[in-house]
Amino acid sequence: MNTLLWVIIPYLSIMVFVGGLIWRRRYDKFGWTTRSSQLYESTILRWGSPLFHFGVLLVLIGHVGGLLVPKSWTEAVGITEHAYHLTAVFLGTIAGLCTLIGMAILIARRRLVGPVFTSTTRNDKAMYAVLGAVIVLGLWATVRANVVGDGYDYRETVSPWFRSLFILQPDPSIMAGVPSSFQIHVLAAFVLLAFWPFTRLVHAFSAPVGYLTRPYVVYRSRDARSQRGLRAARRGWER
């Protein structure tokens, strides 16, 4: 059971995630978009969207810091467990709340503003449910263990296990003793990961950082594209 939950499911999910992204990139570039609904409504969006997106970016940074950076490293540079814990819980809760409030605003907008609701697909609705579940579960785990409870150091358990996945020496036994709130959050996150490539969430992977360095006006030659036109020419055996 442990192996299924903490080895097979994570690896399956990562495989679907990576494979799905590659597949989507190859076959559905046209569908790879934010599909913004700002044209329909922008007053509410102006509050909800930045709140959610900046919040979720902070949450992402927090997760990278907490999961990928080993505890020994932060201690080596003189950050005590207590100091780390305090900042993580403090910033994490704020970022989590921003994300949650932003998401609540966005979902309410999606449901209540007519044009936005009619342009919401079933895929979107499922995506909102999974994404919302992951965020709520994560926040709940933090609040239960570290705000109300007497503190739980996931950097002793969840983080080493998570890193063990990437060095291909998965160690499911560590996860067995983790509080159930964290377990559920982790599992939900892997479900989200597997769902990711097939939703509009893919737009996260087209964050336009290249804009900062490229020249303002892009010139492109027709010749460069002429090798393939807009659609790749089919190979003989594909016709």
Partner: protein, 563 residues
């Protein structure tokens, strides 16, 4: 010097009768799909009027185009790169659908399905955005021909710039039409605003296009374009814009809007320009110098040095030749009668306009004067500050001198040609009064009045050796996978997913689906349709008749299926 070729257009506003044929044919060709109902790559505005989208020219509000910084460099008016990325989650300067209009259709089905009643049934307007009943309150040319009167015309941002006296008289006396397409600027601010780098300027002919596969829907281009000619497809979540009908232009035929123009007021041709000079020319200090600074980047194709440089830059010989015969060169540089639209946006637009003389002539005629007498006309151009000031607000960043000069040339041509028409002697003094010769005036007259198709549209075809790349010449069959876009369906994630279908195929399918649909809103499932073309008259094809109902249960003969 880096020579580049630019496909450009000039429109002669004196000839525009505001019939909207260009807009309608353009829409039929390019934007008759769902998601772009409100999109007009070509639209015709009445002047004075608010334009489309409403008050787009008010850059204090919409922040389109470029501004010059104190250090003499160009910056996007809506903010630099960092600001663009920080506001990417909610663009603060995006027009809402209400600034365009809420597209609608009519509930025609009600006309047929309404129960018998006392009153004739009506087809109620339904919003295509919400699907509910709507009240139509604005559209792309709601204020056509000054409809709505001063109340709406007063919202004209250009009118707001001119003085009170001028404004009042202008509202009373003048009307002309301004057809607009994308300007395909030399210094496009839409492309500069695009975080993904999806908008690009084609190196061969300068046409500005959106790469649909790279657009991620960040919608910064819509803010960036001061002409608001980049639109957001609200179904696919991608930007779309006028393509200068590149599939047509590539094979040497004019754009749809030009081809169908009733007044034959459009001219298409090449301009050669020095790409290295563009940045500096767009950043000149005074706004009113922008017209002349743009003239300075154009290169004379008859100059052997320019031709040599063009060859060195890889421009083919027939393109250089086409540039020599270009009507655009003649109108912009030789006769100097065409002016750019809003040079003050610093984008170096490449669709230029010959300002209309007709408001002046109309005043003369209405006041009982001879509208073709050179003395009257010259006097009126100088005295009637009203149209001149307004036209200067559109074409020369407020400087009346170039507008006056153009109008005087048009007036001289009018008077000079009348003498010829009436069999009188040619009067060189008329030509000299505007610094031209009689010969030049006749030349200009020929180009403006009687130029034939081949003279108005000098379009060199794209080169055959690169033909494999021409987008619409797909070598494979366009309809080649089951349920694919070519088949009228789409990929596995709904409308916007799957491979990109060439627009021509998509349009063709959408149009034929719509023509055959039972309901204007929701074309029924394909399976409902019956193909009678391969029905040989035997038996009943599936779906031709509704299932039989009889009191004794199911039809004893059973539903007879296709033989």
């Amino acid at each position: 010097m880096r020579v580049m070729a630019q496909m450009s257009m000039v429109m002669n506003l004196d000839k525009c009768i505001g019939c909207h044929t260009c807009s309608v044919t353009c829409k039929q060709a390019w934007t008759n799909r769902s998601g772009v109902e409100y999109v007009w790559f070509n639209n015709v505005e009445s002047r004075p009027g608010q334009g489309y989208p409403r008050t787009y020219q008010d850059q204090n509000r919409w922040e389109g185009g470029w501004v010059r910084t104190r250090r003499g460099r160009l910056k996007l008016r809506a903010g630099g790169r960092m600001k663009k990325l920080l506001t990417i989650f909610a663009n603060p300067k995006l027009p809402s659908i209400q600034d365009y209009y809420e597209p609608w259709t009519y509930e025609y089905e009600h006309l047929l399905s309404a129960p018998a009643g006392e009153h004739t049934p009506v087809a109620r307007p339904k919003s295509l955005i919400t699907g509910h009943d709507t009240k139509i309150s604005w559209s792309a040319n709601w204020d056509d021909s000054l409809a709505g009167g001063n109340e709406i015309a007063a919202g004209d941002p250009i009118l707001a710039q001119v003085s009170d006296r001028v404004r009042e008289e202008y509202e009373k006396s003048f009307l002309f039409f301004l057809p607009r397409i994308c300007e395909h600027c030399l210094n496009p601010s839409c492309a500069a605003s695009c975080p993904s780098g999806a908008i690009y300027k084609r190196a061969e002919d300068g046409i500005v296009l959106v790469d649909q596969d790279r657009c991620r829907g960040w919608r910064m281009c819509i803010t960036g374009c001061p002409y608001k000619k980049v639109y957001f497809n609200h179904r696919t979540g991608k930007a779309e814009k006028c393509t200068f009908c590149f599939p047509r232009v590539e094979i040497g035929i004019p754009t749809v809007c030009s081809e169908t123009c009733v007044g034959r007021l459009r001219y298409i041709g090449l301009m050669l320009y020095d790409a290295d000079a563009v940045g500096k020319a767009a950043a000149v200090e005074s706004k009113t110098d922008l017209y002349t600074s743009q003239l300075s980047v154009f290169l004379d194709p008859n100059d052997p040095a320019v031709a040599a440089a063009a060859r060195a830059s890889g421009i083919p010989e027939d393109w250089i030749d086409a540039a020599r015969r270009s009507p655009i060169w003649d109108l912009i540089m030789r006769h100097r009668v065409a002016l750019p639209l809003h040079p003050e946006y610093r984008t170096m637009p490449m669709v230029w306009y010959i300002p209309p003389l007709s408001p002046v002539v109309d005043v003369l005629r209405d006041t009982g004067h001879d509208g073709e007498d050179p003395g009257n006309l010259f006097g009126a151009v100088d005295a009637l500050r009203i149209p001149v000031e307004y036209l200067a607000g559109l074409f020369t960043a407020g400087d009346p001198a170039p507008v006056t000069e153009v109008l005087r040339k048009l007036a001289a041509m009018r008077s000079y040609q009348r003498r010829i028409n009436l069999g009188e002697e040619r009067d060189e003094s008329i030509a000299e009064a505007v610094g031209m010769t009689g010969r030049q005036i006749e030349d200009m007259y020929r180009l403006l009045a009687i130029a034939k198709y081949d003279e108005r549209y000098v379009i060199p075809a794209a080169h055959a050796e690169t033909a494999a790349g021409l987008e619409e010449l797909a070598t494979g069959c366009s309809l080649d996978y089951e349920g694919g876009p070519g088949m009228g369906g789409s990929g596995p994630f709904g409308e916007t997913s799957g491979r990109y279908a060439p627009i021509a195929v998509e349009n063709f399918q959408a149009l034929s689906t719509r023509q055959r649909a039972d309901d204007i809103n929701q074309p029924g499932p394909e399976a409902k349709r019956v193909n009678l073309l391969n029905w040989d008259g035997k038996g009943r094809p599936a779906g031709l008749f509704p299932p039989r109902e009889s009191p004794n249960g199911p039809d004893p003969n059973g539903p007879e299926e296709k033989p």
